[in-house]
Amino acid sequence: MSISATELWVILGCGAITVASRVLPFAFVKQVSMPAWLIDFLTFVPITIMTALCCQSLFIANPGHLATLNVANCLAAIPATIAGILTKSLLMVVVVGIMAMAVLRYFSIGG
């Protein structure tokens, strides 16, 4: 159980940064009424951020070159998506996704 001065500063500093990025918008929105264009812009935030977060796991970055597909994740995404379409249940998507990935790893498919 030890902590160095650097580690302590990293925890406090990064903690302050993450809390500020989460909390300040709440304080701002509460106090200021937002222009219509900004509200319109923000209606697209959920679908765009979630899509981008998915892409982060489905593509592999190759700096300076075009991205490639993360084959294992893309393959496991197929049964997970089908589970979503059939059941509309988040739990089923997650469970089927994990099982698909375990099967892929067992047979060493997709690296």
């Binding site: 902590i3 580690e7 990293v10 903690g15 993450t18 509200i39 899509t51 089927v96």
Partner: protein, 234 residues
Amino acid sequence: MGPSLTFRTGVRDVLPTVFGYIGVGLAFGIVAHTSHLSLLVVAGMSFIVYTGSAQFIITSMLLLHDPLSAIFISTFLVNSRMILMSTSLAQYFRHESLFKNLLIGTLVTDETFALAMNKQNKTSGKLSFAWQSAANLVAYLVWGVATIVGALLGGMIADPTRFGFDFALTAMFIGLVYLQLISDRRLGLSLQLMVMIFVAIIYYFMIGLMSQNFALLVATVAGCLFGMEMKKCR
């Protein structure tokens, strides 16, 4: 997921996402252990910094003895998407007190944000402090405990990815984006599909040119602007 917005419903609604937290949390604990971080540092990272995948980045930068300023800048960049999410989510809580707004803001994450956006499709655009706090608290505690368990198990688990748990987080976002796609009636299916394809293309080309987190931000903002223009054209 039904229309009820109580604390209890919040706990139930957040349960599917817990798998993602456990998988990635265990992985973080194991990585932290092999990077020789003490339990106290792991706990500090998870309960004070609480920034999910960015904790991996901070850990590797600590290991490389990067300067504090570089660690702070990276943390800000990774978290800058939170500014967009918080601004978006805060609109549902304007009627609540400032104090309650700050409480919700402190613990909101990618996952609880996405969950809330799915939820409000079921409640005709309403969210409650009790429901959101339940989701936030469960996520926070599960993440913290999972990382500490991971750090304790450390050397014992040879390869946590063997059972596919690392895919839980990706699967969860796939599920959330699909549910968002079929249930957001304000935007509709075809417009959202076009925006998704646009975001994927932008992200694909951007990750060759910049860091993944920056590409994520660029693709998100570009996708929102594209969506606004397409909506006007309809």
